[in-house]
């Protein structure tokens, strides 16, 4: 059902937890659907210096969260905004079709966390602004 990479990230997830006083928070999903994900980030010099996740969900939800944090760590905010569900799924060696939608929310969680950061830290003209 799941690729080895998914099972690897499910059994040994990376970056689990919550950053204290985070620069940005992104929460997606809802418990009624069975999946909730919260991503917290620390931003330094326009880069993601630290990132952690907490996820309620199936193996796919946990694995996508874990790999998304790995993919985003150290990236600039612009690069991190380019991480999509599709790339997350590819990085995991594919996901079962029924898991592509609800359980693959981490990229959105990451984008929300970045948007949250940008909203709280408006840049001077010429820099990044929140949308």
């Amino acid at each position: 059902m799941y690729s080895d990479k998914v099972m690897e990230h499910f059994t040994d997830p990376q970056n689990v937890g919550e950053i204290e006083n985070p620069d940005g928070v992104g929460q997606v999903g809802n418990p009624t659907c069975g999946d909730v994900m919260r991503i917290t980030i620390k931003v330094e010099d326009g880069h993601i210096a630290d990132i952690k996740f907490k996820t309620l969900g199936c193996a796919a939800a946990i694995a996508t969260s874990s790999i998304t944090t790995e993919m985003a760590k150290g990236k600039s905010l612009e690069e991190a905004m380019e991480i999509t569900r599709k790339r997350v799924a590819e990085e995991l060696g594919g996901l079962p079709p029924q898991k592509m939608h609800c359980s693959n929310l981490a990229a959105e969680g990451l984008h929300k966390a970045i948007e949250d950061y940008r909203a709280k830290h408006p840049q001077p003209a010429g820099g990044q602004t929140s949308d």
């Binding site: 997830p13 689990v16 069975g34 909730v36 994900m37 309620l56 193996a59 029924q98």
Partner: protein, 387 residues
């Protein structure tokens, strides 16, 4: 790695005695039961004997037993066969049926039948008075399962069948989960049709029974040759039928003792888990329930992640039902019982069986609580957050 199989409601291993009974019918005794020569006649004799055994254990007559390819076919045959033969266009079922019943009723709905789906209470029970209110002159069939496959709740079939009989409609019960776990006596129950599946009671997969009370208005669904007195065409699965009869015989002989044993193991598991973990809730009727089945909700965790974590330490269980495992929808059974979706997603079914021991239960009690704690630590939802 140690394997602890606690998914007996999904399927069971075939007992060695059953395999032994079946083996000759694959090889030396391979005859077609419709053939006139001696090999055919031996196969015929084996099928007849199996029919007698099955009939005796259900308190039915041999000519009321039709062999099928399993529970799904029996359910389809019962519902579609009565719908095709009846004089009305209304069918009643319950919200907690197996998909073999629910989806057959849905298919009838598309074909112009009216279907009433009776609700259940928080324990999963259908109320006979509710059924009485739903029956009407055009009702041809009522199909309500004997015991539920996800939570184990046992329905008051006798009462439901009685209410149905007053209206003249045909009563079918899916006894797939009940057989071998509790007495199934068609006279006692007063049912017209009853489905069984061998692989749930240590028989082979792909063989089952539809009991058809003499005089019931029902059409054959699979047509062809004159097999099964024209009620179900197709060369008989002789080894499967022989194996099923042997399996039923063994299960019934050991039933009382085994049911007590399984119940003790289950109570131990239930007490152990609820004692070691917070926010655990039982799904299903507290008493009126199959002896081997335990469905629990663990708040703030999701079922599949518990299932896969247990699998990693060799423990096989399921979330709700095997069929539900492939989808993201919460179980229709739990939803019908009023379990909130976020809790339904966190449910797990343990179904015990012959090979399980106290030791297995201890193993699960040792391995499982840390899994739930780990997943809860990972979860952004907490008791405080959802208060």
């Amino acid at each position: 790695m140690r394997t602890v199989y606690m998914d007996h409601s999904a399927t069971t291993p075939v007992r060695p005695e059953v395999v032994e009974a079946m083996l000759p019918y694959f090889t030396e005794q391979f005859g077609n039961a419709s053939s006139v020569h001696h090999l055919g006649q031996r196969a015929r004799a084996a099928v007849d004997e199996a029919r007698d055994i099955v009939a005796a254990h259900l308190n039915a007559r041999p000519e009321e037993i039709v062999f099928t390819s399993g529970g799904t076919e029996s359910d389809n045959h019962a519902i579609r066969g009565v719908a095709a033969a009846g004089r009305g266009r209304h069918v009643i079922t319950s919200a907690v049926e197996h998909h073999a019943v629910l989806n057959t009723c849905k298919a009838l709905e598309k074909e112009g039948f009216e279907v009433t789906v009776l609700p259940v209470d928080e324990n999963g029970l259908v109320d006979p008075q509710e059924l009485r209110g739903a029956l009407r002159p055009g009702t041809v069939l009522v199909s309500i399962m004997m015991a539920n496959n996800e939570v184990g709740t046992i329905q008051p079939i006798r009462e439901l069948a009685e209410v149905t009989a007053e209206s003249g409609a045909v009563f079918h019960t899916d006894a797939v989960q009940a057989a071998g776990k509790m007495p199934v006596d068609v006279e006692e129950l007063g049912v017209d049709l009853l489905s069984l599946s061998a692989h749930k009671f240590y028989g082979p997969k792909g063989v089952g029974v539809l009991y058809i009370r003499a005089g019931t208005r029902i059409r054959p669904m699979q047509v062809g040759g004159h097999h099964e007195h024209g009620r179900r065409a197709g060369t008989e699965n002789v080894p499967g039928i022989v194996g099923m009869a042997r399996a039923l015989e063994l299960a019934c002989a050991e039933m009382d003792e085994e049911a007590q044993r399984l119940k003790r193991l289950r109570e131990h598991l239930q007490k152990g888990l609820t004692g070691r973990l917070e926010d655990v809730q039982l799904n299903g009727h507290p008493e009126q329930r199959l002896p081997h089945l335990l469905n629990l909700t663990f708040a703030y965790v999701e079922g599949e992640s518990m299932l896969l974590s247990l699998d990693a330490v060799g423990v096989c269980v399921s979330t709700g039902s095997a069929c539900t495992s492939g989808t993201l929808e919460p179980s229709h059974v739990l939803t019908a019982m009023g379990v909130r979706p976020e809790l339904a997603h966190g449910s797990l079914r343990f179904s015990l069986g012959r090979m399980n021991t106290e030791d297995d239960v201890e193993y699960v009690l040792e391995k499982f609580p840390p899994i739930v704690r780990r997943l809860r630590e990972m979860s952004p939802t907490t008791r405080e957050a959802s208060a």
